[in-house]
């Protein structure tokens, strides 16, 4: 698929940048034009995502073969010859998707589109806000489509800066603290990833097509082939000390993003301070990058260590699930509660991944998508009430079901989806993750199921405190949810319901790739 001679993945990645440039040229007063430009850019992106969804070939494997990748675009980007010590630096502009990335691409497009509408009433500096939002969008999309580690890292970092400003300028009262914490914490992770990336670069060589001389490469697919590791280099061999170190560095880098206990404390602060749309993006897409990175990079490049450390991953997964749920239960702030519930739900993704079998892996990737949509709904819901009442204290409300019935209706869908009710999407991915995990880790999975009860408890408790009971006099005049807000919530609710009833819509896209990924990891040497 190409438009104007440029591949669809480039379009979907850089459309927001085009929107951003346009917005920068729009005069300050014309706020509506800016909003609609942003909406148009993200809408086109969503249209492309839908086209990709229908165009996608469900049978191809992807993961470690270039033939299995789809919509591939590859061009030489940076090529410097004659550099002292190591000769030649070569970076490709290499994009492509497979069954692992396609759900994330669709999710990113969907969430970004909705985020624009959720930002409709930004009070100050709209131009800067929309520009940053679109830049962020490009960064996120780029991470999911790039197959060159260097390019991946560039996009990974591109995302960081707009996020810092979006929280730091348009956030709540403690925005500066939250923004700095988010930035520094994530940067720490990035540095670890950078180190691992450089170590990988100096270990992997591929023959140059033209001359046949072996040259270092950032190509991720090349890094997944053990034969490409040059003997005697840092990361050559199996289960060496340096490989352990690189794996752990990568793991911590991604763990900060997920976030995995104990690297999670930036998340509640960032969420609480960020404006609604940014929380939606943060929870909806950014957290997925951590688990995506683990699956795309750590697993296939270090299969023996993925096997070796799988129990540790399962352990932190269980901690995430239980600990996140417990912390959520004790919160007074609605948004913080949802933030902790994210930690708990991301634990399910980790548990599914750790299982290293097809059910678990499918559960994990599906849960990544489902958590994206469900948590986005939850944050939008908090945003609706915060816009009206300017408080998020759970005990300040009560009886909203009577005064705001439509709002309560859509909220119920989101809450029950989050607590894993069958018929809504969260259940399928949870069940798959547990089914997979139980085959590998019996006791840990049984402990993790405790999370199911805890989640039900805090979700229903919240629901009761905010929505049930006698209406609070103070909020009797709150208007019910309006058309724009419904427009942001209903599409997500439809997706949640559709995937709850017929998950194959998405599962079919990823089955072959994830099966292959499991094979790749399982066939890696066992320590």
């Amino acid at each position: 698929m190409e438009f104007l001679g440029i591949g669809v993945l480039s379009w979907i990645t850089f459309l927001p940048i085009i929107g951003m440039v346009l917005i920068l040229f729009i005069p300050k007063e014309k706020q509506n034009v800016m909003k609609w430009t942003a909406a148009a850019a993200t809408f086109l992106q969503l249209v492309l995502a839908v086209m990709i969804f229908f165009h996608f070939n469900k049978g191809s494997l992807g993961i470690n073969t270039q033939e299995g990748m789809q919509l591939v675009e590859k061009a030489s980007w940076i090529d410097i010859r004659g550099v002292p010590w190591f000769g030649r630096i070569h970076v490709d502009y290499f994009l492509g998707i497979d069954g692992l990335s396609v759900p994330m691409v669709i999710l990113t497009a969907l969430i970004s589109f909705i985020a624009v509408f959720a930002s409709w009433n930004i009070p100050k500096a709209l131009k800067g806000y929309m520009a940053m939002l679109l830049l962020l969008d490009t960064g996120m999309m780029g991470v999911f489509v790039s197959l060159d580690f260097f390019l991946f890292y560039v996009f990974w970092e591109v995302m960081l800066l707009p996020m810092y400003f979006l929280i730091g300028i348009w956030g709540g009262p403690r925005r500066e603290y939250a923004a700095i914490k988010f930035f520094l914490y994530t940067l720490l992770g990035s540095v670890l990833i950078l180190l691992a990336m450089i170590a990988l670069y100096f270990s992997v060589t591929v023959p140059d097509g033209a001359t046949g001389e072996r040259m270092y490469t950032f190509n991720m697919l090349a890094m997944m082939n053990p034969a490409n590791f040059q003997p005697g280099t840092l990361l050559a061999g199996v289960g060496t000390y340096w490989r352990h170190l690189a794996y752990i560095a990568l793991f911590i880098g991604f763990a900060i993003k997920v976030p995995i206990f104990p690297f999670h404390t930036w998340l509640p602060d960032a969420h609480v301070e960020a404006p609604t749309a940014i929380s939606v993006i943060l929870a909806g897409v950014l957290l997925k990058m951590g688990t995506y990175g683990l699956l795309r990079i750590s697993y296939p490049m270090f299969p023996e260590l993925a096997n070796y450390y799988s129990w540790a991953l399962a352990l932190v997964a269980v901690i995430n699930i239980i600990y996140g749920a417990l912390c959520a239960m004790a919160q007074q702030d609605f948004k913080k509660l949802i933030a902790y519930s994210s930690i708990s739900h991301m634990g399910i993704v980790l548990l599914g991944m750790a299982a290293l079998n097809t059910q678990g892996m499918m559960g994990a990737v599906l849960q990544m998508f489902n958590h994206g949509t469900i948590t986005a709904m939850l944050f939008l819901i908090v945003g609706v009430i915060y816009d009206r009442a300017h408080t998020r204290d759970l005990d300040a409300f009560g009886g909203l079901a009577i005064t705001m019935p439509k709002y309560t209706g859509i909220m119920t869908v989101a809450f029950f989806a989050a607590l894993g009710l069958p018929g809504l999407s969260g259940f399928i991915s949870e069940a798959f993750s547990f089914l997979g995990a139980f085959q590998t880790f019996r006791v840990l999975t049984i402990v993790a199921t405790l999370g199911i009860v805890l989640t039900a408890a805090y979700m229903l408790w919240t629901l009761q405190r905010v929505f049930l009971g006698q209406p609070n006099e103070k909020w009797a005049s709150l208007p019910d949810i309006n058309g724009r807000e419904l427009f942001t919530l209903v599409p997500l609710a439809v997706v949640v319901l559709a995937l709850g009833i017929y998950p194959s819509l998405l599962l079919d896209l990823m089955t072959s790739s994830l099966n292959h990924l499991v094979e790749v990891v399982r066939s890696g040497a066992v320590l």
Partner: protein, 655 residues
């Protein structure tokens, strides 16, 4: 089972049209009712565990929505939440059971699982796991069928509209648990069945004792339901498969009838109270009723019919099914020697007859309590009485067996034979034939015993509440603590509130504290230490606080450690005394330097030392300049003297 769901649901819908008339959320109520019926049917028609679990949870959802129908009331929303969460605890057990089965058999289908089990495949090759899987699946039933120890949600669930109580909490939803046991019966080992029987017996006993002391008509019925469910579960547990399931069917009919009957009474009471402008009197308290017989004849006679059925009086459906269960318990005791099961069974049968007749007498017989209110009471509309009449007719024996004294010849028994067990013979319960023979032997004994306990129960009820030979209040007063214990439902709510609920909330608060103080404290600590390294801890020392002391200790510790490492690290293995002293001094110096570095910070260090050295150099140069300037006197003699001095020095140097 499908028949039960359909019949009861249809009539509940019909009944609700009258009962819910004028409700604020009339439309929503019927929508939820529809969801409920859908999910119940889902449980019944599915052939695999996964869909069963899906429908199972959806039933939980619809009951949550229906119980919380009047969510403005705190008690209603509490009850709904409690029902969902308590059920979920059971469901998680069931889910783990399903996980075990799936991991072993890689399928969810009942038939396939049972077939492989018959072929000798058992979970993880261990019989203990098989038993565990059985008990875990049974956990789902404990939740849904309100068995001990998860029975606490059911009485509270009476906060929902009465037709919902009839539908969910008497006939269908709670029966789902029994259905589940019946479905999975073939995979239950003897040990699993024993657990089931014991849980059933405990439930039946506890609930019956609580029912005696309750005054709210719906509460009595709720506990009676729990008790009867315990009966069914016990029946299945002892191996009386058909009897247990049969009781489910008959009970569904007469208990739905009882609930709808009570709904009719409450509806009338509400109406009358509303009429007389009385807002204080509880419309559901049987102490406020009495003598309603003549005012509501249809409700009364149907109610009596249901009561006879639940008490196990001959010619009713309840007699048939109850009798079979009791015979089954006797047979079980015969085979296994666990005599406590039938003892509890018969005792509960007596209690049931007693408390049900207590309700009938207090509600319909005797004197009315308030003339004004009494006059305003009317029979309920036809949409409410027709379901009652239908259920009453269905409570006759003839619909289930033509022989009023034995159900075994009826259609239920031929339609529902006990399935073959598929578990390995070494852990299986007594076989069908062995069990049937034993049942046959104890049948007559069971019938005589059950008739006599039911008779005694009914007689006691009349003696106490109708003829008032025994004063119930006096009995209550004399057995004070016991009575209050029963009235307060064995204090289960208090116990769970103090342990499970408070414990969880407490741990949650602890987790929050840990997260804020420790985990995030470390993160912020790293931040402020990095900052401190640049700015120095000097600032923190001024505040006279704990953190200042903390800073001091940590800085001192780090400094000493650095000094130690440097001093002793460099110390050669065989050093002279002087060298040792030298290295010690070096260590102390390094340690002092580190401490100083922390104290003033890298920034401070840069300011005071590095920059200080630079400044000092400049200062020194300036000082030299000042000194030498003095020499520039401008006199030739002075310069000459200096030149001679220089030559002399050179001469001395190169001498």
């Amino acid at each position: 089972m499908m028949l039960v769901v359909y019949i009861v649901s249809a009539f509940v819908h019909l009944f609700s049209i009258g009962y819910m008339h004028g409700d604020v959320r009339y439309g929503r109520y019927f929508a939820f009712l529809g969801v409920f019926t859908f999910s119940m049917l889902g449980i019944v028609v599915t052939n695999n565990f996964f869909m069963m679990y899906v429908a199972w949870e959806l039933v939980g959802l619809s009951s949550y929505l229906l119980i919380g129908h009047w969510f403005e009331r705190q008690s209603a929303s509490d009850a709904a939440k409690k029902a969902f969460i308590v059920n979920r605890i059971g469901d998680v057990g069931m889910f783990i059971g399903i996980l075990i089965l799936y991991t072993t058999f890689h399928t969810f289908t009942f038939e396939t699982i049972f077939e492989s089990m018959k072929a000798g495949v058992i979970p993880f090759g261990s019989e203990a796991w098989l038993t565990a899987a059985g008990i875990l699946v049974f956990c789902g039933a404990i939740g849904k069928s309100a068995q001990f120890p998860l029975h606490v949600w059911l009485p509270d669930a009476m906060e929902g509209p009465t037709p919902v109580s009839a539908l969910i909490h008497a006939a269908t939803m709670v029966a789902a648990g029994v259905y589940l046991i019946a479905r999975t019966f073939p995979m239950m080992t003897a040990d699993a069945l024993m657990v089931i029987a014991i849980i059933g017996a405990i439930t039946a006993f506890i609930a019956a004792t609580i029912a005696i002391a309750q005054n709210d008509i719906k509460k009595v019925l709720a506990y009676s339901t729990i008790s009867q469910l315990g009966y069914m579960v016990m029946g299945l547990g002892v191996g009386a498969f058909t009897a247990g399931f049969f009781h489910l069917t008959t009970h569904a009919m007469f208990k739905a009838g009882l609930f709808l009957g009570s709904g009719s009474v409450i509806h009338a009471m509400h109406h009358a109270l509303h009429h007389s402008g009385d807002r204080k009197t509880d419309a559901q308290d049987i102490r406020n009723m009495g003598g309603l017989k003549s005012k509501m004849p249809l409700t009364f006679w149907t109610f009596v019919m249901f009561t006879l059925a639940i008490s196990g009086v001959p010619f009713t459906s309840g007699f048939l099914s109850k009798d079979e269960i009791l015979a089954g318990t006797l047979a079980y005791a015969n085979l296994t020697g666990r005599w406590y099961i039938p003892v509890i069974g018969f005792f509960v049968a007596g209690l049931t007859a007693f408390y049900m007749f207590r309700v009938v007498i207090l509600t319909f017989l005797g004197d009315h309590k308030d003339n004004h209110r009494y006059d305003a009471i009317h029979e309920s509309p036809k949409t409410m009485t027709i379901p009652l009449i239908v259920f009453a007719i269905l409570s006759f024996f003839a619909f289930f067996s033509l022989n009023p004294f034995s159900a075994t010849s009826g259609w239920v028994y031929s339609a529902l034979p006990r399935p073959e067990s598929v578990v390995p013979a070494s852990v299986a319960a007594a076989g069908i034939e062995e069990f049937e023979t034993s049942v046959h032997h104890s049948h007559l004994l069971a019938m005589v015993l059950s008739l006599s306990v039911a008779g005694i129960g009914i007689l006691m009820a009349f003696v106490t509440y109708y003829w008032k030979k025994i004063d119930a209040d006096v009995v209550a007063a004399k057995t004070g603590p016991l009575y209050r214990f029963l009235l307060n439902k064995w204090k289960f709510d208090e116990l769970y509130g103090a342990t499970v609920v408070a414990g969880t909330v407490g741990i949650a608060k602890l987790a929050r504290w840990f997260d804020n103080r420790i985990v995030d404290g470390i993160v912020n600590g790293v931040g402020s230490w990095t900052k401190g390294l640049t700015l120095g801890t000097k600032r923190n020392w001024v505040e006279n606080s704990i953190s200042a002391i903390f800073y001091m200790i940590v800085t001192a510790g780090i400094s000493l450690y650095v000094g130690w490492v440097v001093g002793f690290g460099l110390l050669p293995a065989e050093a002279s005394l002087g060298a040792i002293v030298g290295y010690v001094i070096l260590g102390i110096a390094v340690s002092g330097f580190t401490f100083f570095l922390f104290y003033v910070g890298v920034g401070g260090f840069d300011n005071s030392i590095v920059d200080g050295l630079v400044n000092a150099t400049a200062y020194f140069a300036g000082f030299l300049g000042l000194l030498t300037r003095r020499l520039q006197t401008g006199k030739v003699q002075t310069y000459l003297a200096f030149a001679i001095l220089g030559v002399m020095i050179l001469f001395l140097w190169f001498r």
